[in-house]
Amino acid sequence: MIALLRKDLLILSRSRLLVVLLVVYPAVIALLIGFAISRSPSRPRVAIVDETLPGETVRVGRERVEVRRYAEQVLSQVQAVSVATRAQAVAKVQSGSVLAAVVIPQGIAARLESDTVRARVEVIYNGNALEQSLVQSTINSDLAQADLRFAEQIEQAAASAIDGLLKGGTLSSLGAPENLIGLREIPATLARIAAAQPRGHTRKELERVKAFAGFAAQNLTLSKQVLATIAQPIGVSSTLLHGRRTPLNRFAVVVAVSVSLMFLAVLLAAGSVALEREEGALARLLRGLVTRAQLLAEKTLLAAGCAFVLALALLAGIGAFVALDWARAGLWVLALAFGALACGALGVAIGVIAREVRAASLLAFLASLPLAFLALVPAGAVSGGFDDAINAVSFVFPFKATLQALDAAVNGASPPMAGSLAHLAVLAFAFALLARVGLTRPE
């Protein structure tokens, strides 16, 4: 087996173009995927037409907010391009230099302050369905944030007013008289006055007013909580059940390395097995010089070894730019070794089935690419039946298990690494068995 391994490495070293392709292609694909995952979405260019008067402000509770400044804050997720008129904005959208335009009409401040008329902004957009979807979701998200901020400000203003009514004092902003009595003080004050009154109609009336004041104070206190709930009906409280929270760029590293590992192991294993048949050497080897199991083990080890070295080098190289926990390096090695073996076994099975180098390489490539993408589809992102199908496919091929093992090794993410390693070991055995059965077919 050592002689065969040495022979394959010698052949590989003489196939420089192949080596370059096998190393560079998966690395480039991996880095592209990693880059796409880790980078936040780009901000779409949107033209802003502000038709409000300079310095126009809107009063929200006690505060006055300048409309222009507020619009800039609101549309934070877009790359704003200021234009003077609606016509210019439409022209820019039509020419494609911006994806959309937002028109903030004159008088929006008055509408925002009005209790009866809803304030409106106009959104003009163009482009294909994807661009429309991007612009719509971005602007809707911005406006939802703006609505939320308005609601918070209104809630704060209302809460402050309620506080003033309950506690009393000087409420100049409401135009109230100086040293106004607070609602909470009224029951006690009335109780004192009523006690000084003779029993009779007046005292009874005072006690009724005192009961009303107490009830009103109690309900106004409650209404502050009601206002807070209306402003933000659903709050978010996050709980991570297993493992540690993984930063997106470190997950991207794991994806990039796993993709490289799988591509190299599968392509190399499939190609090297098919090459033995294509060179006509398979029959010569299998006439007692090596057993079928030895031959398959050698090809798996060759592909897994090369993929392991490349993946480890890639991980260490990326580690120079992204903060990785080097204390976990032992676990990286374990995850990469199991992943490489399982992917190598898959490649060997493909090579045995395909028989020709070109067919084997094509099949390996066609299998690897969708496997990588399917494994990256977030759970629940597609409809139930399709999600189940994706999970089933991801389960019977080694990419997702490799990704999970490496994520657990690098980032301490869930599921636990031992489960993924066991999964990979089972898959490696299953694909090796499939290859062994395939190799018994007559030439």
Binding site: L10, R14, E279, G280, A283, L286, L289
Partner: protein
Amino acid sequence: MSALLRVERLAKNYGGLQALRDVSFELRAGELVAVVGPNGAGKTTLLSIIAGAQPASSGSVSPPEQRIGWAPQQPALYAKLSVEENLRLFARLERIADVQGAVERMLAQAGLQPRAGEPVARLSGGNRQRVNVALGLIADPPVLALDEPSAALDPSQRERLWRFIATLLARGTAVLFSTHNVSEAQRYATRVLVLADGRLLFDGTPAALKGAAREGEGEDEGEGEDLERALVRFLHRHAPETREAGA
């Protein structure tokens, strides 16, 4: 003289197709035996079973395949490796004690020393076939099975190959080869095996085959008859179904 190779009641089935049926013969030291017959007769199947490249459905071959050298019809070589590297690899796989000695011996025997360092991909068809045969001989087997060894060679390359095989015969190696070139069998073989439809129809010298072809027929072309014509006449009589196969 005892047999170096004994094939007994060999049969091979591919599903419902019987590729070989009860084939038995022996091979002795220094013998050069040609296996001839029409396309699909079972020649390649017979040689590959003898070489251990595929199992028989029934019957036996002795000695075991490790002691039989084999050169398949298509040279089974690694094109990116040099002649010497190919020889060294198979010497190691054959677990030969003196690998370098075996490699040098084969380079000398096959006249490949000047090409030792050249990648197989750059060799001519004739030289590839010589490397192919040399690989079959690297473990110094007593029996060598060659599947259509001269099929892709020009006349001078064929001549060189047969001279090389003659040196093996002189050393006592028994050689079994399949061929479509009946004149080659007539010229070099000491014995001829005629296979048709998986059955061994004849086992004897070329002269005996000519005699068998003439048996029971009035016309007699005598000893001067071409072996190819004799084979066709023989097959028409003993395997009439091969007429359609173009024998």
